[in-house]
């Protein structure tokens, strides 16, 4: 097995997780349960495809993908923050909605129920300057940047405050609802970028192309104990397991189904507290603060 090809393949798999998990971390640190990452990613992938197809430019695709994620993030935010709807229910509904909306408009825009036409992406090959794909660099930088924002800026302090003690935050004048709106909007945009990467990397949109990656990101958020860097490491770990499985496919050492289970089993184990208990932000999921 070539370690270099292992690394590049692992990164390709990890980038969507890194974007989505960062989105999950910021929403959950603000106290909003983030089960809609899958839906944000799928919407982002689809709107990116629309943008890239009609403009011919991947950069317009990136922009459209961010806006698609933002749109669904705002639906999530308005329902759970303004209307105090149950966050778990809304998250699951957004995932269903994203599947329906992307399928409906795939049919409307491209008269297909399976995939879009080919779109332009970024060059994915390795060149003299390293990777040419700007999304790859963004994906690698997003977790450190988020860690800086969460732990070293005033906005980050506010996010953590409204996720732990919203009442205390409100009493010192922090606009709780507003901070949460921003956090969920960022979460939609970041997860949307994860979807953008998928669509541009595969040069098309295919029906349900996110295929559960949003839930692997949810697993990474929890396994990483709601910390941006640890969640990113969890993403890399899950991606490494997948890469190993793909590269060892001929050997039949371990069936792919069991490799698929790894992130989920690890997350359950982490939640049960066998190795260092995963404790969520105190106000996570509370609709009345």
């Amino acid at each position: 097995m070539n370690p270099f090809s292992f690394l590049t393949q692992m990164l390709r798999i990890a980038i969507p997780y890194l974007f989505a998990a960062s989105g999950g971390v910021i929403a959950e640190r603000a106290g909003i349960i983030s089960l809609a990452l899958e839906g944000f990613m799928l919407t982002g992938a689809f709107t990116a495809t629309l943008g890239a197809f009609y403009s011919g430019s991947p950069w317009i695709g990136v922009l459209c993908g961010i806006l698609g994620g933002l749109l669904f993030g705002m639906i999530h935010a308005v329902a759970t923050i303004r209307y105090r709807a149950d966050q778990v229910v809304v998250g699951i509904a957004i995932n269903l909605l994203a599947v329906g909306v992307t399928r409906f408009f795939l049919k409307l825009a491209f008269a297909s129920s399976s995939n879009s036409p080919r779109i332009n992406g970024f060059p994915a090959r390795l060149s003299a300057h390293g990777f040419d794909n700007p999304l790859l660099w963004m994906g690698l930088l997003v977790a450190p940047v988020l860690a800086f924002v969460l732990y070293r800026t005033r906005f980050g302090l506010r996010v953590r405050a409204v996720g732990e003690h919203p009442d205390a935050a409100e009493s010192v004048g922090i606009p709780v609802a507003w901070v949460r709106y921003v956090a969920v909007a960022l979460s939609g945009m970041l997860a949307g970028l994860g979807g953008v990467y998928l669509a541009l990397d595969q040069h098309q949109f295919t029906d349900q192309m996110t295929a559960g990656r949003g839930f692997i990101a949810v697993a990474a958020v929890i396994f990483g104990r709601w910390d941006p860097i640890r969640a990113a490491l969890a993403c890399l770990l899950f991606a490494a397991a997948e890469t190993l499985q793909i590269q060892l496919q001929g050997n039949h050492l371990l069936a792919s189904q069991f490799v698929e289970m790894i992130p989920y089993v690890l997350t359950i184990v982490a939640l049960a507290g066998v190795v260092g208990r995963a404790i969520p932000p105190a106000a996570l999921g509370k609709t009345e603060h």
Binding site: A85, I92, L96, G100, R103, L108, Y264, I268
Partner: protein, 354 residues
């Protein structure tokens, strides 16, 4: 009618009505984006579902599975637990029912084989439900995340068993079972010919009635609801919250698992990988719209079954994916209007009582 009952009915009915109106408007927009007439498409949707016996039979078939998963989710919510695992519990139930059917000799009469397969189905779902129940009670692990994660684990495991050990070549389903078939409705009402509707629907209705009785007419049910409303107060009142949670989530899984017989015993007579096809997740919508009441769940199951069958009826004019959009819209609209309606009604009541 007492004022209290009227308030309860208003609080239960307003959100679904609001959601239906919102969904109708969204549906209008989607239909018009396709250059069709909304009135025409809605008429086709109704004709293809409630307007002919075959379509209605398909609605009944789909509503049967959704009744089980909706009851399962609502049972959890009544105890204050969110079971997002109905999808894998349903699959595990269907799988064990098929295994039992395969193991039994075809000579065994249906009156014995069917109940055995039903017990196996409930057991399959119950085991998948007991895992998050145990982790919640013993370690405080949040059941929402555990049930979501367990969905992937269980479905991958079942996929591995079927793909590697149990499938008929070139397919992803088990061999056909010959013991424990549940008769289709067309045997009694010929007009249903060709539709998948079968007598499992009676079992679904009996299950709904049994859960109603358990919740509202027994001590255990009272304790379960008390724990769901205020676990701390219930604990103080002498109820063992952990035990109630464990039983509620396990029973919830068992009910979802029992739903597997609709497909395995009533329709195809084999287990097929992926047969659950989202019915478990839609169970969350059914419980929500049915306001966690067994009668409401049955009605909501009919509603969502009508939508999904209706999608096929309109497909020639508008893509059937429209109904998937509407399902999502209905869920979000109900979830948004429940707290809002509660607040509005409370405000409206206040001047009268003050």
């Amino acid at each position: 009618m007492t004022a209290r009952l009227r308030e309860q009915i208003e609080e239960a009915l307003f959100p679904p009505v609001v959601a239906l109106l919102v969904a109708l408007i969204c549906g209008d927009l989607l239909i018009m984006s396709y250059g069709q007439s909304p009135a025409n498409v809605y008429r086709l949707l109704l004709e293809g579902t409630w307007g002919n016996a075959y379509g209605f039979g398909q609605v009944l078939y789909k509503a049967t599975t959704l009744t089980f998963t909706g009851l399962a989710v609502s049972l959890g919510i009544r105890a204050g637990l969110f079971n997002v695992g109905a999808e894998s519990q349903l699959a595990a139930g269907g799988f064990l029912a098929a295994l039992t059917g395969l193991a039994l000799s075809p000579a065994i009469p249906g009156v014995i084989a069917v109940p055995l397969c039903m017990i196996a189905a409930a057991l399959g779902g119950g085991i998948v439900g007991a895992v998050p129940a145990f982790l919640r009670v013993r370690f405080g692990a949040h059941e929402v995340i555990v049930t979501i994660m367990l969905n992937f684990v269980v479905l991958a495991l079942l996929n591995w068993i079927i793909a590697n050990h149990l499938h008929v070549p070139e397919t992803l389903h088990t061999p056909e079972i010959h013991a424990g078939a549940i008769p289709r409705l067309d045997r009694f009402i010929p007009a249903f010919h060709g539709s998948a509707a079968n007598l499992t629907i009676l079992i679904a209705l009996l299950t709904a009635a049994a859960i109603w009785f358990l919740l509202f007419r027994t001590r255990r049910g009272y304790e379960l609801r008390a724990v769901g409303l205020q676990p701390d107060a219930a604990e103080y009142g002498g109820v063992g919250v952990g035990g109630v949670w464990f039983r509620a989530l396990t029973l919830s899984g068992a009910v979802a698992g029992l739903g597997g017989i609709n497909y395995v015993l009533g329709y195809k007579h084999y287990y097929e990988d992926g047969f659950a096809g989202g019915s478990g997740f839609l169970g969350i919508a059914v419980a929500l719209v049915g306001r966690n009441h067994p009668l409401g769940v049955v009605l909501a199951a009919l509603f969502f079954a009508t939508l999904s069958q209706g999608g096929l009826a309109i497909h020639a004019f508008v893509p059937k994916q429209m109904v998937e959009v509407l399902q999502g819209v209905v869920i979000i609209a109900v979830a948004m209007s429940v707290p809002e309606v509660r607040r509005a009604l409370r405000q409206a009541r206040r001047p009268a009582s003050a």
